[in-house]
C-alpha cells in the first residue's frame, strides 16, 4: 500500500515483495487490509441479518441460511476482522513505539499472517462448498456434530489455521517487548499501547491453546469418529463449552485491551497532557487480564453448573468492573485540565467513553447470575456485546486508523469525511443496539431466524435495522476516505499531531529499518520530553552502525499453502479417502518447507552505514 515506494516497480515485483516480506510494517499493513476486507464481509452479513429481522416472520432468507449468516458474521468479525486488525496495528506500531528496528521473529511474523489469511479464506470457501457453518460462532456440541455438510469442518480447520497464526504473533510480540526495547526504554516508560500489546499477547498465549484443543476434539469427533461429545459413548458436551469459554472470555479482552491502549495514546495526544495515572493504568491492564481467566463460566450460568459455581463466577465477573473503572476515570482525568482538540481520531475516542461504559455496565448486570437467567441468550446479550465490541473495539480501530494512517502511509485522512463517517456510524450504532436491550427483556431470544407477529417486537427491530444501515453508510464513507486519501490526500509530516511517543520521531512512512540510530529514551513520552526541553528530536544512543536486517522469504507463504491444502484434505477425506492424498501432500509441503528453512542458514543482510548516510535526513 505504500504507494510512493512501489510506483515505479512492476506489479509482479510488488506482489513478490509482499509475498516474501518479513518487514513488520508491511505485515502490519497486510493484516489491517485483510482484516478490513473481512470486516466488510462480516458487515454485509450483519446487514443481511438485520434485513431478515426488519419485520416479523420475514422470509428474506431461509432458516438454515440465517443460521449460517449469524455464525459466519460472529466468526468472521471476531476472528478475521477485529483480532487481525488489532494485531496489524500492534505489528506496525509497537516496534516503533519501543524503539526497535524489527520484531524478534520476522519469519514467524510472516507465517502468522499467512496462516490467518488462509484460515479466513478457508472458512469463507465454505459458502461455495455446500454451506457455511451454522451452529453459531460458539459451535456448541452436539449441534455442531449434527450439523450436516462440511460447514462446521470449515469452521474447525479455518480457526485452527488462523489460531496457530495468532499464537505465533503473540509469542513474537512478547519476545520483542522483552528483548528489543531501545536503550533507556524501561518497562515503566513504555507507551500504553505497547503495554496492552504485551498483556494481550500473554492472553493470546494462554487462551488460544484452549481453543486449539477444543477444535481438535471437535475435529476428531466429526471427522474420525471419536466420542468426546457423544453422549451415547460416555462423552460430555459441556466440555466443549468450558474449553470454548476458557478461550472465549479472554478473547474478548484480547479485543478490548489493545483498543484501551489505542485510546490511551490518542487521549493524551489530543489533550496535550500526559496520561493520568500511568502506573495504575498498567496495573489495571494486568488485573483485567488476570481476572479475565477466572470468569469464563459467566457464559454458562444457565448450563446447570450449580449454585456454588454460579456464585463464584458471578462475583469474579463483577470484580472486573473495578480495574476497568480505574481506566475510564483515568482517561477522564487525563482530559480534565487539558487542551482538547477534537478531530476525527479524537471524536472516536470521545464517543468510546460513554458507549463502552454502557456496554460494560450491562456486562456487570449480566454478571449477576440470577438476573442472567433472564438475559442469557436474548438480545440483551447481543446488545451488551455489540456495545463493548463496536463501541469499544470498532471505535478503537477507527480511531487508530485516523491517528496512525499518516504514520503508516504518509498521508492524512480527510477530516470532513472523517467527521461525516463518525456521525453516521455513531448514530446508527446507538439506534441499532440500544433498543436491543429492551427487545431481549421483552422476550426476544437471540439467534432467532424470525420473531413472531403481535409480540410487541416489531418497532424495536425496525429501528434496529435502520440503524444498521446508517452504520453501513458510515463504513462506506470511511472506505471512500481511505481510497481518496491514498490517491489525493495531504502529505503527512513526521509528527502531524504534535504527539508524544517514539513513532512520531521518525519519517512517515518509516524507512525499512525504522531508526537510523537507536534513540536514547529519557522518560515516559520520550518525544514529548525532547520537545519540551527544546531539542525537538531524539538523541541517538549509538554511533552510526551497519544495520542488520532479516532477509525476505517465500517459505512462510509456501508453508501456509501446504497447511491449507492439508486442511482441505482433512475436510473432504470424510467423503472420499482419496482426499487423504491431499493431506499427505499438504503436510509434506509444509514440513518440507520447514525442514528446508532449518537446513538453510539465513543470516540476513546489513544495510551499511555509508548507504544510510547517503539518504537525506
Amino acid at each position: 500500500m505504500s504507494i510512493a515506494a512501489t510506483q515505479n516497480r512492476g506489479f509482479g515485483a510488488t506482489l513478490w515483495d509482499y509475498l516474501t516480506t518479513v518487514d513488520h510494517k508491511k505485515i502490519g499493513n497486510m493484516y489491517i487490509a485483510a482484516g478490513a476486507f473481512f470486516f466488510l464481509i462480516g458487515g454485509l452479513e450483519a446487514l443481511i441479518i438485520r434485513i431478515q429481522l426488519i419485520k416479523p416472520e420475514n422470509d428474506f432468507i431461509t432458516a438454515g441460511l440465517y443460521n449460517e449468516m449469524i455464525t459466519m458474521h460472529g466468526t468472521t468479525m471476531i476472528f478475521f476482522a477485529a483480532t487481525p486488525i488489532l494485531i496489524g496495528f500492534m505489528n506496525a506500531i509497537m516496534p516503533l513505539q519501543i524503539g526497535a528496528r524489527d520484531v524478534a521473529f520476522p519469519f514467524l511474523n510472516a507465517l502468522g499472517f499467512w496462516l490467518f489469511l488462509f484460515g479466513g479464506i478457508l472458512l469463507n470457501l465454505s459458502w461455495i462448498f455446500g454451506g457455511a457453518p451454522d451452529a453459531g460462532w460458539t459451535s456448541y456440541a452436539p449441534l455442531s456434530l449434527q450439523s450436516p455438510g462440511h460447514g462446521v469442518d470449515f469452521y474447525v480447520m479455518g480457526l485452527q489455521l488462523s489460531g496457530a497464526g495468532t499464537l505465533m504473533g503473540g509469542i513474537n510480540f512478547i519476545v520483542t517487548i522483552v528483548t528489543m526495547r531501545a536503550p533507556g526504554m524501561t518497562y515503566m516508560r513504555m507507551p500504553l499501547f505497547s503495554w496492552t500489546t504485551f498483556v494481550t499477547s500473554i492472553l493470546i498465549l494462554f487462551a488460544f491453546p484452549a481453543l486449539t484443543v477444543g477444535l481438535f476434539l471437535l475435529m476428531f469427533d466429526r471427522m474420525f469418529g471419536s466420542a468426546f461429545f457423544d453422549v451415547a459413548l460416555g462423552g460430555n458436551a459441556i466440555i466443549w463449552q468450558h474449553l470454548f469459554w476458557i478461550f472465549g472470555h479472554p478473547e474478548v479482552y484480547i479485543l478490548i485491551l489493545p483498543a484501551f491502549g489505542i485510546f490511551s495514546e490518542i487521549i493524551p495526544a489530543f489533550s496535550k497532557k500526559r496520561l493520568f495515572g500511568y502506573t495504575s493504568m498498567v496495573f489495571a491492564t494486568f488485573l483485567i487480564a488476570f481476572l479475565g481467566f477466572m470468569v469464563w463460566a459467566h457464559h454458562m450460568f444457565t448450563v446447570g453448573l450449580g449454585p456454588v459455581a454460579n456464585a463464584i463466577f458471578a462475583v469474579a465477573t463483577m470484580a472486573i468492573a473495578v480495574p476497568t473503572g480505574i481506566k475510564i476515570f483515568n482517561w477522564l482525568a487525563t482530559m480534565w485540565g487539558g487542551s482538547i482538540t477534537i478531530n476525527s481520531a479524537m471524536l472516536w475516542a470521545l464517543a468510546f467513553i460513554p458507549s463502552f461504559t454502557i456496554g460494560g455496565m450491562t456486562g456487570v448486570m449480566l454478571g449477576a447470575a440470577s438476573a442472567d437467567y433472564q438475559y442469557h441468550d436474548t438480545y440483551f446479550v447481543v446488545a451488551h456485546f455489540h456495545y463493548v465490541i463496536v463501541g469499544g473495539v470498532v471505535f478503537g480501530i477507527f480511531a487508530a486508523t485516523h491517528y496512525w494512517y499518516p504514520k503508516l502511509f504518509g498521508r492524512i485522512l480527510n477530516e470532513g469525511m472523517g467527521k461525516l463517517a463518525f456521525w453516521l456510524f455513531f448514530i446508527g450504532f446507538h439506534l441499532t443496539f440500544f433498543i436491543q436491550h429492551f427487545l431481549g427483556l421483552m422476550g426476544m431470544p437471540r439467534r432467532y431466524w424470525v420473531f413472531l407477529e403481535g409480540q410487541g417486537l416489531d418497532t424495536g427491530n425496525l429501528i434496529s435495522t435502520l440503524g444498521a444501515f446508517l452504520m453501513g453508510l458510515g463504513t462506506i464513507v470511511v472506505l471512500i476516505n481511505v481510497i481518496y486519501t491514498a490517491v489525493k490526500g495531504e502529505k503527512a509530516p513526521a509528527d502531524p499531531w504534535d504527539a508524544r511517543t517514539l513513532e512520531w520521531s521518525i519519517p512517515s512512512p518509516p524507512p525499512e529499518y525504522n531508526f537510523k540510530k537507536l534513540p536514547l529514551v529519557r522518560g515516559l513520552d520520550p518525544l514529548w520530553i525532547e520537545k519540551t526541553e527544546g531539542k525537538g528530536k531524539m538523541t541517538a544512543a549509538e554511533p552510526a552502525v551497519d544495520i542488520h536486517m532479516p532477509n525476505g522469504s517465500i517459505f512462510p507463504f509456501i508453508m501456509t499453502i501446504g497447511f491449507f491444502i492439508a486442511s482441505l484434505g482433512f475436510i473432504f477425506q470424510v467423503d472420499n479417502h482419496l482426499w487423504l492424498l491431499a493431506v499427505y501432500f499438504g503436510m509434506a509441503l509444509a514440513l518440507g518447507t520447514m525442514l528446508a528453512r532449518s537446513l538453510k542458514d539465513d543470516h540476513g543482510h546489513h544495510i551499511h552505514k555509508e548507504e544510510l548516510e547517503r539518504e537525506a535526513d
Partner: protein, 107 residues
C-alpha cells in the same frame, strides 16, 4: 554478528570447574527424580488405598517436575525471571482448567 551483543569472556578452567559443579547437581537431581518415580510406582504396586495413594503420587509428580524445571531447565538461574513468571501464568490457567474439569463437569 556484531561484537557488541556478545560476551566474549573466554572459556577458562574456572568456568570448566563451574560447569562441572553444576553437572554434579544435575546428577543428584536425576537420582532424586528416579527415586520419586520408583516410589510412585511402588505405592501403586503395593495396592495402597486410593485416598492416600492419589494425593501422594500427585505430590511426587509435582516435586519431580519442579526439579526438572529448576535444575534441568535452569529456571533457578538468573535471566529466567520473565520465563518463569509466564510459566507460572500458564500453570495458573492450567490449574483452573483442570480443577473445573474434575469438579464441576459432572456437577
Amino acid at each position: 554478528m556484531n561484537n557488541d551483543n556478545m560476551n566474549i569472556d573466554k572459556i577458562n578452567s574456572f568456568q570448566k570447574q563451574q560447569n562441572k559443579e553444576e553437572m554434579k547437581k544435575q546428577i543428584i537431581t536425576f537420582v532424586l527424580m528416579i527415586a520419586f518415580t520408583v516410589v510412585a510406582f511402588a505405592v501403586v504396586a503395593s495396592g495402597l488405598e486410593a485416598i492416600y495413594a492419589v494425593p501422594l503420587i500427585l505430590i511426587l509428580a509435582v516435586v519431580q517436575v519442579g526439579f526438572q524445571f529448576y535444575y534441568f531447565m535452569h529456571m533457578k538461574d538468573e535471566g529466567h525471571e520473565v520465563p518463569s513468571s509466564l510459566i507460572f501464568g500458564g500453570i495458573w490457567v492450567a490449574v483452573l482448567t483442570i480443577l473445573t474439569m474434575t469438579t464441576i463437569i459432572w456437577w
